[in-house]
């Protein structure tokens, strides 16, 4: 097991190196450069200033030189300085990560609490009224554009009813823990819908697949109650693939939710990424994307390890 883990962790190094080359290339291939943001405000800009700006940022150098400079610094643990804010990329990411982790954590919590029972109950009577409604709801959840759903919830719960705040993480100057929780409800719920829809469908179909499995038949033949069969045999086995999907989705925790964070003015990584993209803030983009890549790789490993925990037949060598 430890040998397997070590090997997988070592494999990350060339993988991340390859990923860094690809994303650096893609970022550089996008037309336009950081100097575009000088003109974005619609002001006249002195051309000498544009040249001076490009020189300071080093974007006047060949792409290969820029990459090597970036790589040298990154290996030493320095992700560089953001073009648009002149601040360290590491600090910018560290500042935004907690907000994203919190929002995604709440969304995952909502989703797990709702999706698993939904899938379980649906699987008990496939085609029944509950299952039909849940299926319809899931497809609606998957199909609904997040920005639209978010705005509609704002209109209902904030503008009309006045129950919940529209956006932000707290009432500025008058924030409390309760106030903060109230700010989390709408974005957390909006973000959870796609996970609820996906996970509940997945869990339902896995459980249905298991209903006719030999070991379930045997359990029933032993005289176990239906509740015990469900608890001990089908649900535990049905969770294996769902948990691995959840673990893969956990990588989203770190990359943020671009649209939800924008619609709810949530100060997370997703919004930072959008700002960086529009400003062609290459170091910041590299930092965020590399972190995203690393978390996907790590959570793939976590998913694989979870298989082993849930299914004793799986062994790692």
């Amino acid at each position: 097991m430890s040998g397997y883990l070590r090997r997988r962790l070592l494999q990350m190094v060339p993988l991340l190196f390859g990923v860094s080359i690809v994303i650096f290339g893609v970022i550089q291939a996008a037309p336009g450069g950081p100097e575009g943001s000088l003109l974005a405000a619609g002001r006249f800009v002195d051309p000498a200033v544009i040249e001076s700006y490009r020189r300071r940022l080093g974007v006047d150098q060949p792409v290969s030189v820029q990459y090597l400079n970036w790589l040298r610094a990154t290996v030493r643990g320095d992700l560089g300085t953001s073009f648009s804010t002149s601040r360290p990329v590491g600090a910018l990411i560290a500042e935004r990560l907690p907000a994203t982790l919190e929002l995604m954590g709440v969304a995952f919590g909502f989703a797990a609490v709702i999706a698993l029972p939904l899938g379980l109950v649906s699987s008990r009577k496939p085609g029944g009224l509950f299952d039909t409604v849940a299926t319809g709801g899931s497809f609606l959840g998957l199909a609904m554009p997040v920005f639209w759903f978010g705005l509609i919830l704002q209109l209902i719960f904030s503008v009309r009813l006045g129950w919940l705040p529209v956006a932000g993480t707290g009432t500025i100057g008058a924030s409390s823990f309760g106030d903060h929780l109230r700010h989390l409800i709408l974005p957390g719920f909006v973000l959870s819908t796609r996970y609820i829809a996906g996970w509940s469908r997945y869990f339902r179909s896995t459980l249905l697949g298991l209903a006719g499995a030999p070991f379930v038949r045997t359990a029933r033949a032993k005289g176990l109650t239906e509740a015990r069969v469900e608890r001990v045999h089908t649900v535990r086995n049905g969770l294996i693939p769902v948990v691995s999907i959840m673990a893969l989705n956990l990588a989203d925790l770190f990359s943020g939710a671009v649209i939800t964070e924008t619609v709810f003015a949530w100060p997370g990584i997703g919004r930072l990424f959008v700002q960086a993209m529009f400003a062609r803030d290459y170091p910041l983009l590299m930092g965020i994307l590399l972190m995203g890549a690393a978390t996907v790789i790590v959570f793939n490993l976590v998913a694989d390890l979870l298989y082993g925990l849930l299914d004793p037949r799986i062994r790692y060598e």
């Binding site: 996008a30 037309p31 336009g32 450069g33 950081p34 575009g36 943001s37 000088l38 003109l39 974005a40 405000a41 619609g42 002001r43 006249f44 800009v45 002195d46 051309p47 000498a48 200033v49 001076s52 700006y53 300071r56 648009s84 804010t85 002149s86 601040r87 910018l92 500042e95 935004r96 907000a99 920005f147 978010g150 705005l151 704002q154 209109l155 904030s158 503008v159 006045g162 705040p165 529209v166 956006a167 932000g168 993480t169 009432t171 500025i172 100057g173 008058a174 924008t262 619609v263 709810f264 003015a265 949530w266 100060p267 997370g268 919004r271 930072l272 700002q275 529009f278 400003a279 062609r280």
Partner: protein
């Protein structure tokens, strides 16, 4: 409105998170910075420069501008004497000269650095007098130095170090002389400033205790936030104005911005040159485009039609410029005369060239794209094919700068002074169209190098007429910035210049 424990807290739903607080190097419009940082001048609601740290704006008439024999000018700015920085140190004329040295250094990355280059020397004969020596007359001298930097904080650094100096960029040492002091910048969320109790205008100013700018980038969310009553001020889109017409407790102001939506054609590409080099062809196109329909229907009557790049709020606006009335018949005649005849597929051709061009659109600029779509439909009726290419903002800018485009629907955000030289002179830094006109250049350049209002007005009047007659560009409408302001806010005097509506925050009041 959230509770505020007896304090008067102004809550602003702001449209973006700014990048940094140094007003010279920020790439955003810097209206937030002006709550903390003041300059010699700012602009008021009438699109005029007004003195701030300067006691008065020098003119020849008040004797503060004196011509020297060698053609240079000495310009004396008297400064207020009782002004201190937020850390208690006195503000003096030396800070002004320090700012001049910083701004003119290319490494300062000040966007309008070239406008300062006519100043050859800065002298501080005493703490409250600064004297600039100009290399000659320069018309927009009175729009410079909208901010002054503190020498005692930034003085020991190179320009490059100042540009990257985080304590000033980020707040903890953003020392200014303004009515509010920096308090907090929560990344991605808000900037908070608090009352400067030692403000130089006196103990009665400012009249509110705190201001919070919450960053709410999505326009629909911002509208919902305003509708929910949690904010006192926010900018919305023209198409959202009808949504707030009956919103209780707020008033919406359509601030005429110093920005004109226009259609530009370029002759820098071979196709652009083949199509647009003939002024009669350009006139023909302009006879087809119905500005009134665009203003009244597309923009829902929130904007006014433009015939000149200069805004009617400017004293340099010429109301008597010729217009191209909507007349598809005349357009057809002009195109026929120019040899563009309708071909089998309904598109005009001349010598094997189809009259087909591409408008370069900026993704997400929904108003501009909608205008382009109207133009596309209208030109189709006279046998002109318009295609679209849509690029994301940075990519659009790169293409625009490299002149690889045929047409754009675009807008500039101009300062209160309407110099048009950068846009239309042959060597204008922002003239990417390839048009170069020997008759226009002398007028433009002369208009920049005079301090006489009648002389400059005469030249700029002629420039506006010339631009219309030669169909160089088609002004479509003057942009407006709809600002939604709580009726609890007093003394708001919205300004449509690039310095924004917060120019007189020291005077704003907030009823409980």
């Amino acid at each position: 409105m959230p509770r505020s424990d007896g304090k008067k807290i102004l809550r602003v739903a702001y449209e973006r998170e700014i990048d940094l607080l140094n007003p010279f190097t920020s790439q955003n419009l810097v209206d937030i910075s002006f709550s903390k940082i003041e300059g010699l001048v700012t602009t008021d609601e009438h699109n005029q420069f007004v003195p701030v740290l300067a006691k008065t704006i020098p003119t020849k008439a008040n004797g503060l501008i004196v011509a020297n024999r060698d053609g240079t000018l000495d310009m004396t700015w008297p400064l207020h004497g009782n002004v201190s920085w937020h850390d208690g140190r006195p503000f003096t004329s030396k800070d002004v000269c320090f700012t001049w040295r910083f701004v003119t250094n290319p490494a300062s990355e000040t966007y309008n650095r070239e406008q300062y280059l006519g100043i050859k020397d800065c002298q501080a004969p005493n703490d409250t007098t600064v004297v600039f020596r100009w290399d000659g007359e320069y018309a927009y001298y009175d729009g410079l130095f909208e901010a002054i930097l503190p020498e005692h904080v930034l003085g020991g650094m190179t320009a490059e170090q100042i540009v990257q100096f985080e304590p000033y960029n980020r707040g903890s040492q953003t020392i200014g002389t303004g009515p509010f002091r920096f308090a907090e910048w929560k990344a991605g969320e808000y900037i908070r400033v608090v009352r400067n109790d030692n403000y130089w205008r006196g103990k009665d100013y400012p009249k509110i205790d705190e201001i919070v700018w919450a960053f709410i980038p999505d326009a629909n969310t911002r509208l919902n936030a305003l509708k929910s009553g949690q904010y006192h001020f926010g900018r919305i889109l023209p198409v959202q104005v009808k949504d707030v017409a009956t919103l209780a407790g707020y008033r919406d102001y359509l601030i005429p911005s110093n920005s004109v939506m226009h259609l530009d054609l370029s002759i820098k590409t071979p196709n652009g040159k083949a199509l647009f080099a003939d002024p009669n062809v350009r006139r023909a196109l302009f006879h087809v485009i119905d500005k009134k329909a665009i203003a009244d229907q597309l923009m829902e009557g929130t904007v006014t039609i433009a015939n000149s790049p200069i805004n009617p709020t400017s004293r340099f606006y010429n109301p008597a410029v010729p217009v191209h009335p909507v007349d598809p018949g005349e357009a057809g005649r002009l195109l026929d005369q120019a040899g563009w005849v309708v071909g089998g597929d309904g598109v005009r051709t001349k010598g094997g060239t189809r009259f087909s061009f591409t408008i370069l659109n900026r993704a997400g600029a929904t108003d501009r794209i909608a205008v382009a779509q109207v133009i596309q439909a209208e030109l189709k009726a006279v046998g002109v094919e318009v295609k679209f290419e849509t690029l994301e903002s940075a990519a659009w800018t790169e293409r625009w700068r490299s002149s690889r485009w045929e047409a754009v629907v675009s807008a500039w955000f101009l300062p209160a002074d309407p110099s048009l030289t950068g846009l239309y002179a042959c060597d204008g830094a922002n003239n990417m169209t390839g048009f170069c006109d020997g008759a226009l250049d002398p007028l433009l350049k002369r208009s920049d190098r005079t301090l006489s209002f009648p002389d400059r007005k005469r030249d700029l009047d002629s420039v506006q007429v010339y631009l219309a007659e030669s169909a160089r560009t088609l002004p479509l409408y003057y942009n407006v910035i709809p600002e939604l302001v709580s009726s609890k806010v007093g003394n708001y005097r919205g300004s449509g210049t690039n310095f924004g509506s917060f120019w007189n925050l020291y005077d704003w009041t907030l009823a409980p």
